[in-house]
Symmetry: C2
């Protein structure tokens, strides 16, 4: 099997101890050639300053996390979400991100109307695609694990994401995070269907047992996901981009970030 | 909307405080017309004694939980699982269960071979279908939520279960638990596809947030699942059986079981 594509660090992986400047310096120090910031650390540093620092460090930007979160109880909330996504597109463009990753949003608080929430996601995406195309920014729909359906993403499967891409057309794609899709019986066929629309590939692992539905991800190799197998599907589909390591984990957040980056570099070579 | 089908109590709902005899007496006391035992409490009471008590209380048996758990590291483990499923079919037949519910099993310990585990499930099911048909016992494949894929069920979606039913033929069906399937974008179409193969309907709820991947289910109405909406899909498909309430919850296990049964009776009428 071919070596994995170049590594990228998603900043959430060390979010408890490092801001964006420390992440950029850490990538340079550990030989990690790319980064994927979350918007909170990007805004805290300032976009212009971040652009300079990322350029000075010679880093690629595999994505910006995250747009989305379209469903809301009322029209004002939904309009605010769309406006916020327009700002996210501008930020992603400014830092030269390969894509804007979309976590589409869950049910509005108290709602049981799943079809309604899916409609709000669809409407929100349609509303921003013109801006995205104008900025040359790929909108990467990230299907999230079904256990996040209520509160984070009513977009649950790769097939569902690709159905939306079919509708949205040029400028749309998918972000494949192995953590969210590894269980899917349709994974192989949907990866082939995705083809060149795979805009990002995220690696982490499913620990057995998993004790938290959000903050207990493993580093590659700590769990049961056949990451190289899913990476091979992405490559067969034509993906040639970064392998972005994104870990939401109370256990790893408590560690020295330099140690976490060492582990990631080692595991990228061994387990991705 | 029509009233929900008759209520059934799954014994796991009060497993910390009641054995099968107490569950049978509790159903009679609370006017619950059916029961669905787990095998551990059935065996603890003794099958013959349970048959008498269930008959004397005039209860229907909406299912026996559970067969399955086919994947194992070695051939001896897989053969033992098949033998155990044959005993489960006998027990289900003895108590007059409407079906034997199958929780098919996850990855063998340490394995990352999801296709392999799925093959073990398929092989195991093929091995027992002759026994099931001879006993007139419906094998009800229960797709489990994808968050259980590693350690409980590599069978994750209703579509995947129905693909297996297509292959297994007569005597196979599905157990639809709203907790496991509510998030599925293909739910409506797969429920229609299931038709008369829906052998059981389980109700509980998805709490927001959910703090444990196994033991934090809500009673109907405590969460975000549109249970009447999914029940209507089952009825449109032809289902006329029980609404079985199955709650795995540390919070409800700590309560007085009589209070839990009162809540279930009330919520069956109000939220199912």
């Amino acid at each position: 099997m071919a070596a994995p594509g170049p590594l990228s660090l998603n900043t959430v992986t060390v979010k408890e101890k490092w801001g964006l400047r420390e992440c950029i310096e850490g990538c340079a120090r550990h030989g990690i050639p790319a980064i994927s910031p979350w918007r909170d650390v990007l805004q805290a540093m300032g976009v212009a300053e971040a652009v300079r620092a990322i350029r000075d460090a010679g880093l690629a930007v595999s994505g910006l996390c995250r747009g989305g979160m379209f469903p809301a109880m009322d029209a004002a909330g939904r309009a605010a979400a769309i406006e916020d996504n327009r700002r996210a597109i501008e930020e992603a463009h400014a830092i030269g991100a390969a894509c804007l990753v979309m976590v589409c949003g869950g049910l509005p608080p108290g709602s049981k109307d799943l079809d309604g929430a899916r409609g709000m996601v669809r409407d929100g995406l349609h509303a921003i695609m013109g801006d995205a195309r104008a900025a040359g920014m790929t909108i990467a729909l990230e299907p999230l694990h079904p256990m996040t359906c209520a509160d984070r993403s009513v977009l649950s499967t790769l097939g569902q994401a690709l159905d939306l891409c079919d509708e949205l057309g040029e400028g749309s794609g998918v972000a494949v995070d192995v953590y969210h899709v590894w269980w899917d019986p349709a994974l192989r066929s949907q990866m082939a269907r995705a083809g060149r629309r795979i805009a990002a590939f995220h690696a982490c692992d499913w620990k057995v047992p998993t004790v938290d539905t959000v903050f207990d991800r493993g580093l590659p190799g700590e769990g049961c996901i056949d990451i190289p197998g899913i990476r091979a599907m992405a490559e067969e589909a034509g993906y040639r981009g970064h392998v972005e390591v994104e870990i939401l984990s109370r256990r790893w957040w408590a560690e020295d970030p330099d140690r976490v980056l060492e582990e990631i570099v080692r595991r990228h070579a061994a387990s991705c």
